[in-house]
Symmetry: C2
Subunit: 112 residues, 2 copies
Amino acid sequence: MVVDQLSDAELDGLFQALSDGTRRDIIARVLGSDGGYSVSGLAAHYAMSFAAVQKHVAVLERALLITKEKRGREQIVRAHPEGLGKARRLLDEYEGIWRQRVRRIEEILTEG
Amino acid sequence: MVVDQLSDAELDGLFQALSDGTRRDIIARVLGSDGGYSVSGLAAHYAMSFAAVQKHVAVLERALLITKEKRGREQIVRAHPEGLGKARRLLDEYEGIWRQRVRRIEEILTEG
DNA sequence: CTAACCTACAACCAAATGGTTGTAGATCAG
DNA sequence: CTGATCTACAACCATTTGGTTGTAGGTTAG
């Protein structure tokens, strides 16, 4: 399998979204919440401006790692691990190839 | 478990390293090779300068995704999926939390 | 020895990133 | 209605990133 049909650009965005500690923390926080977080609810936890957190949320949304849902004047952020799965499957594939390779080398060494 | 002891900076570097198509291609190429690639052997495959590929290799090395081994005048690049595993384990953990949450919600709905 | 090759690294440049402040439109509370 | 709150978005700035060219040092081939 060629790992879904995820385009290069999609993967770029996915891994790039995951490459920032604040964004990973937002993911963890949202995953660990029951009802989700409003954007300002999230922003309250970080030592940066609201707008900065807003941008991080936008990056995560583009990468399909979260979704936003309007509720009144708030925008509720929830986990949407579709992107998560895609990224993990690529790493799985890489690791699979690696393990296969290690196994082959061991075979060659043992069976001589 | 708190996913090894990988520091934020380590994860930043890991995911950032994975967020570029050329670098992912280098990983795939090296994983798929038997003896590894020299840096210029790699560079031959990309429409960019040798120095650019050299920089990509350096990024991957810092992220523990590959290793370089000097052999004569060449530098042999090999896969070193330690970083790979770390990244995958974090995504696994995220997905685990998600699945747990989905299960809990289903329980609440069914046992109502 | 000399020439070719492989690598390292510095200096430079354009574009993207992560942050800021400021402005403005909705929505809710009193 | 009015004021406070939540969000969106633009403009700006410093730093990082991904690329370039150029120079220099080690290693191999002839």
